[in-house]
């Protein structure tokens, strides 16, 4: 019944080996994907690729300027909507921990965080696209902004919760009004945590495709009008990757590499910020 100690230790060692093997194995697909995208995409990227428009099927070459600019604009407008709202909401949640509104808002933020991105697209379609009677970059930005909100709110709340009450009390004791205490003392103290949350949120939405399918829609031509359909990198990758033409596949590989570099850079920046300027008291 009782196995001897050698058997038990052997089993323990075997288990350790198994755990190490499995956990190393999970990272293998990541590196295969990264290397593959770099290999396929690198040869396609050059100056011409960045500043030119996609060529029609049958002509080699062409670029992704419309998608690059479109992606930047859509993400920029989404940030413009979501960052102030998210930070304000985060401040409220960290300042009022147990009011009824805070609990309901926290629940709503959780709901938004768990919402599938495709459903976000459906709802924004009825909120923005239907009333304006056209697909538009604006509606894409709204959908992405709603996706950003929970991340910004959460990171702001968590960061501000770490700050000691004495900071706020010192400000109030000097006779500063409440809004100045928050905006001039509390926010600057927590800025690194909030900033990394914001950058993470931008990285997250930069690669989102599903909410843009029925909102920004995509556009074969160059457009900077936010009330018109606009192309974006993830949409271009989706449309060209599922097409049947090699030229378009090549464009999509290049676009995928650019998107990947963009997202990875933002993630690395977040890492550096949290490491260098950690909120500490």
């Amino acid at each position: 019944m009782k196995p001897n100690i050698k058997y038990r230790l052997g089993k323990s060692r075997f288990f350790k080996g198994l755990i190490i093997a499995l956990s190393v194995l999970c990272t293998v697909p990541l590196f295969i994907i990264l290397i593959y995208i770099f290999k396929e995409g690198f040869s396609k990227i050059n100056w011409h690729f960045l500043v030119n428009m996609p060529k029609p099927v049958g002509e080699a070459g062409g670029g992704i300027a419309n998608a690059l600019v479109g992606s930047l604009l859509i993400v920029f407008y989404a940030s413009l909507i979501a960052i102030p709202l998210g930070i304000m909401c985060g401040i409220y949640l960290s300042e009022n921990r147990n009011t009824r509104l805070a609990n309901w808002t926290r629940l709503s933020v959780d709901v938004l965080q768990g919402t599938p991105s495709i459903v976000m697209g459906i709802v924004v379609y009825f909120w923005v696209v239907k009333p304006l009677h056209t697909f538009s970059a604006l509606s894409g930005s709204v959908a992405l902004a709603i996706m950003m909100l929970p991340i910004v709110v959460r990171s702001t709340e968590e960061t501000l919760k770490l700050l000691p009450d004495t900071l706020k009390e010192a400000g109030l004791a000097l006779g500063l009004p409440y809004h100045k205490v928050i905006l001039r003392i509390i926010l600057p103290c927590g800025i690194s945590g909030i900033l990394s949350g914001v950058i993470l949120a931008v990285a997250r939405i930069a690669g989102e495709t599903a909410p843009l399918l029925f909102t920004a829609f995509g556009n074969l031509y160059f457009s900077t009008n936010i009330l018109k359909p606009m192309e974006s990198l993830p949409l271009l990758i989706f449309n060209y990757a599922t097409s049947a033409y090699d030229d378009w596949h090549n464009l999509a590989w290049g676009a995928a590499l650019i998107l990947l570099i963009w997202v990875l850079l933002l993630n690395i920046i977040t890492k550096i910020i949290t490491k260098k300027w950690r909120v500490q008291f």
Binding site: S12, C26, I33, M88, S108, P116, I122, T209, K271
Partner: protein
């Protein structure tokens, strides 16, 4: 002299009035913005329900178990998509669990710090950061041919694309969710418990099996639920490799459709209002299911961490 004093006092009062007003406006806007997030979510649900009312009225419960989806003849049954979503998600979950738990134990118990654990932790986070459209693209061009040759070997119809390929892609994508949460939970096991077991002569494997896993069980489950929520709602990667046919898949190697992928494919083409409404009802079901799963997961985490 008193004139100056009065003027100074008046200025002071004016300033404090202004500051009090600023304070009030600030507090009010904080409340208003928090309220607006609540309103967004309520309006969100409201929009989905209102827009899917025509289909709920016309189709009733048959909508959920109807076996044919044929918009041309106005027949809307979502059973093929429900099945597709459940098959892909649970298959991915089952494959991913050994990997994510192993990573959780590795990072939480064997090597909590050091360069290798940092490297692994960052790699796991990177998996979650890569956009899903890139997974789909890679899956379509690299994974699908591999799956196809595998299917040729085992003698089933070599579609390549289909439920199985989607599950593999999903597996890669959902590992980080259970792994990083599981790591936190494994780390929270009190060392007094582990030391007590070691003192009784337990080996490391026995400590993990009899102390760490039972103690962190609910936390690990929460991680699995979050992974499941992600898998159910994932759209792009699945849409690109599942094959998009609205018939009931007859094996896990057959092409199919999930709830999310059918919306992605057909929403902009929906010609009749009932068709559109049926698609939105699928969205409503998907929304409710993922939100409930996420909520349960978060509740468990909260309970676990506050204990």
């Amino acid at each position: 002299m008193s004139n100056i004093m009065n003027a100074w006092k008046a200025a002071k009062i004016k300033r404090s009035v202004r500051q009090i007003r600023g304070e009030k406006i600030f507090r009010a806007s904080l409340v208003l913005i928090s309220l607006s997030i609540l309103v967004i979510v309520v309006a969100f649900l409201f929009t989905l329900v209102i827009q899917s009312l025509p289909s709920i009225k016309a189709l009733g419960f048959g909508f959920l178990y109807g076996k044919t989806w044929d918009p041309v003849h106005n027949i809307y049954g979502t059973y093929p998509f429900l099945l597709g979503t459940l098959l892909t998600s649970f298959l991915a979950l089952i494959i991913s669990i050994p990997f994510s738990f192993a990573t959780a134990i590795f990072l939480g118990e064997y090597y909590p710090r050091g360069w290798f654990s940092d490297f692994l932790k960052n790699a796991i986070e990177l998996i979650a950061a890569v956009p899903s459209v890139i997974y789909g693209f890679w899956g379509l061009f690299v994974l699908v041919p591999i799956v196809r040759s595998l299917e040729l070997k085992i003698g089933v119809t070599p579609y390549g694309i289909g439920i199985f390929a989607s599950s593999l892609i999903l597996t890669i994508m959902i590992i980080p969710y259970a792994a990083s949460l599981g790591r936190e939970m494994v780390r929270m096991v009190p060392s007094s418990l582990k030391e007590a077991a070691y003192a009784l002569g337990a080996t490391r494997y026995e400590v993990i099996k009899n102390v760490i896993l039972p103690y962190s069980r609910s936390g690990l489950l929460a991680g699995v639920l979050l992974s499941l929520g992600r898998a159910l709602g994932e759209t792009m990667a699945v849409t690109m490799v599942i094959g998009n046919t609205s018939v009931i898949p007859d094996s896990i190697f057959a092409p199919g459709n999930t709830m999310a992928s059918v919306i992605a494919n057909e929403f902009t083409e929906a010609a009749s209002s009932l068709y559109l409404s049926a698609l939105i009802e699928i969205g409503l079901v998907l929304f409710l299911v993922t939100v409930i799963i996420n909520m349960v997961g978060k509740r468990i985490i909260k309970k676990f961490t506050s204990e």
